[in-house]
């Protein structure tokens, strides 16, 4: 934070003071928290050269992120094994092992599904929408956020698969010709959901992979160079370089950093960003149709699609911050690539989307009253004051109230506060889905059908296991794949511009 008055900043700028004078000012945190809009905050700190960026990021994949990695991964993997056990138990026993009843026939399974699929949305927002908006700071977070998208969609995909009951019939979700001569119903939002989620998973994976090709080629070339140097009598290659050169070589499919290739690559990147933008908006809209096209009070509302999309981005950014703030402390040199400015920007997005979600909650109540439908009104009063009041108020305090802290500069510039809020938001977003699903289902039209939902141990451990699976996949990603978009990071450094150093190449070249 600068203590400069805007007029003074202007006066100084007019007097020819370079922007650099503000960098290193103790008021600007690590030098990136500059308020003057005319000063472009640096995206890479520590005076890093292109080579330093390569060394830092490739170091995570070559030498590992640190001694903590193996125990942390083993722990996460043992938690992840729970989901294998629980799903196995569910399959051999039946959905009766969950706490579902005749009335509350969707509960934790669909809550978890919507929760995880929502987490994924931040990755696509960062890689697609922020790319179209030319937000250069996204390059520091896009790779890990995209990885999170894919791992979250994997976790999400498990739940609708297993909640169909007879898991071995799950292939019937897809229009596959079969001997029973039956086809799925294309007028059902549940089928739209199958297509939306599987398209989303596929396109996200393609986008992630394409962005990674140049960085995998960097890892390949480094391993290759070390092997050649060792062969020529130089320093010994790292352990596993033979496998690295082969595996990264296979994955980078012969990328040779050609200018002609970069030209098509950038066009492809822009196309994928352009199509992923409507895709990401469509996915959670279609997930919300699962509810909104029914006639159940509390579900049957037109506000659901935008409200779900805002909530998904909100929850997704919270997860990005939840993972990257500790990573920033644990990975050597990461603070130079992921600055306080990045965290502040994401905190601002949390504030914005959190307020949008809060507006949607208020709007639902307003419409329940204004719509003059007794059942609708009753459902909403019941949500806030009925037997699930605690879930509702957990949701409100975590999602609406906690991000309001970010109106204050000192909170949105403190990694610790951002981390704590991101934990609250993650909890709040899980409860949001729980409230929507369970509190709408537990009161049917006839009082005789009123039931409470009680989760069983299997319900709880399946969810815990899915968190373990998510964390395990993310930890494996940090160890074996380039955690930052190396080429993109270099491209946003000021020295990457062909016009750097007052160079004027004009003369009809452009």
């Amino acid at each position: 934070m600068t203590t400069l008055h805007p007029d003074e900043a202007n006066a100084r700028r007019l007097a020819g003071l370079k922007a650099g004078a503000l960098i290193g000012n103790p008021d600007t945190g690590d030098g990136t928290l500059i308020d003057d809009p005319a000063v472009r905050a640096p995206l890479v700190l520590g005076g890093m050269s292109f080579n330093d960026v390569t060394e830092t990021v490739c170091g995570y994949a070559e030498r590992g992120p640190g001694k903590w990695w193996l125990p942390a991964t083993l722990m996460a993997a043992s938690v992840a094994s729970l989901i294998g056990l629980m799903v196995g138990y569910l399959i051999i026993t039946g959905v009766g092992v969950w706490g579902l009843t005749n009335q509350v026939d969707w509960a934790w399974d669909i809550t978890n599904f919507v929760f995880w699929i929502g987490i994924g949305h931040a990755g696509t927002l960062i890689s697609a929408i922020l790319c179209l908006l030319k937000q250069k700071w996204r390059t520091a977070v896009n790779r890990s956020a995209e990885a999170m998208t894919i791992f979250a969609v994997i976790c999400a995909g498990i739940f609708p698969g297993i909640h169909v009951g007879r898991v071995w019939m799950a292939w019937m979700l897809f229009p596959i010709p079969n001997y029973n001569y039956i086809w799925p119903n294309f007028r059902s939002p549940l089928l739209w959901d199958v297509f939306a989620v599987s398209t989303y998973a596929t396109v996200s994976a393609l986008f992630w992979y394409m962005g990674m090709i140049p960085d995998l080629a960097t890892l390949r070339d480094r391993a290759d160079r070390r092997l050649r140097e060792a062969k020529a009598g130089g320093p010994a290659a790292l352990k596993g370089d033979g496998i690295r050169a082969f595996a990264y070589g296979l994955l980078s499919i012969g990328w040779r950093f050609s200018g002609r290739h970069w030209h098509r690559y950038e066009a492809a990147y822009l196309i994928l960003a352009g199509i992923s933008t409507p895709l990401v908006l469509s996915v959670h809209s279609i997930v919300s149709f699962d509810f909104a096209t029914s006639i159940l009070p509390g579900w049957h509302t037109t506000i659901f699609p935008p409200y779900f999309v805002a909530g998904a981005i909100f929850g997704g950014f919270a997860m990005v911050l939840f993972l990257l703030i500790p990573a920033r402390e644990l990975f050597p040199g990461m603070k130079n690539l992921l600055t306080l400015r990045h965290l502040e920007n994401m905190a601002k997005i949390l504030l914005l989307t959190g307020s949008m979600v809060g507006f949607a909650y208020a709007m639902e109540f307003f419409i329940a009253w204004y719509g003059a439908n007794d059942y609708e009104k009753e459902v909403f009063i019941n949500r806030a004051t009925g037997p699930y009041w605690w879930a509702y108020w957990t949701m409100i305090s975590c999602n609406v109230i906690s991000p309001q802290l970010f109106w204050f500069r000192r909170f949105r510039q403190s990694p610790l506060v951002i981390f704590i809020v991101s934990v609250f938001v993650t909890i709040g977003m899980w409860f949001e889905r729980f409230v929507i699903i369970v509190s709408s289902l537990h009161r049917a039209f006839l009082p005789g059908e009123w039931h409470m939902f009680h989760p069983t141990l299997v319900d709880i451990l399946t969810f815990v296991g899915s968190c373990g699976l998510f964390l395990t996949l993310f930890l494996l990603f940090t160890r074996f794949l380039p955690m930052f978009a190396i080429a993109e990071l270099k491209a946003v450094m000021p020295e990457s511009s062909p016009h750097h150093h007052g160079d004027s190449h004009g003369k009809g070249a452009h």
Partner: protein
């Protein structure tokens, strides 16, 4: 790791004459064919200006290798705009059409009565049509980009240069290929030198 096949491309070319590679015009003293001459440049600005010179000298089989895409380099190299958007767009629209027809066929082939709604109403088909359009477009974009780039490929002679591996880190290179009709080793060297290139190196095929 060395994976070598028991035959070469030229052996196969005995049966498929169009695969036969033309012998190179230039050979090194050791007898290997010349693939290209490469030069390294210190900064993006240097390689950018050098690319303008190579372009103006009229070479066609040449390339710039940089660790990241340099803004405006396609103009400096004189590259025509790629047709990739056309491919992606047409495959995407085709995918959407296939998706729509698929639903139309299935919904009339197996008629499920839902709330008495018409079987061929187009409105409920919108989400799946959209999703399948996006899906096909994404595949066309990635595969089209790679195919236009001539990828994937297992090896490229330019990797024979150890110095060239810096292009994935912080090295900026220009490579002029021997296959270029205008290629003449001394002239190419002189051009790259005058453009500010260092470590000019001949890469064997």
């Amino acid at each position: 790791m060395n994976l070598s096949l028991p035959f070469t491309l030229n052996d196969i070319a005995d049966y498929f004459p169009f695969l036969k590679r033309k012998p190179g015009r230039f050979v090194t003293p050791s007898g290997a064919e010349v693939h290209a001459i490469i030069a390294q440049f210190a900064t993006p600005a240097d390689v950018y200006h050098a690319a303008e010179k190579v372009r103006d000298a009229g070479y066609t089989r040449w390339d710039v290798h940089t660790p990241f895409p340099i803004h405006g380099l396609e103009e400096a190299m004189g590259i025509k705009r790629t047709i990739l958007p056309l491919i992606a767009g047409s495959v995407g629209l085709g995918g959407a059409a296939v998706g729509f027809l698929l639903q139309l066929f299935i919904s009339t082939d197996y008629e499920i009565v839902v709330q008495g709604k018409p079987f061929t109403a187009w409105e409920p088909f919108t989400p799946v049509t959209f999703e399948l359009g996006i899906l096909h477009c994404a595949f066309a974009t990635l595969i089209g980009m790679l195919a236009l780039n001539g990828l994937p490929r297992w090896h490229h002679p330019i990797f024979n240069s150890k110095r060239f591996l810096k292009s994935s880190d912080d090295g900026f290179f220009i490579a002029i290929e021997a296959a270029d009709a205008k290629f003449e080793p001394n002239a190419v060297k002189a051009l790259l030198e005058s453009a500010g290139g260092t470590g000019i190196e001949l890469v064997e095929s």
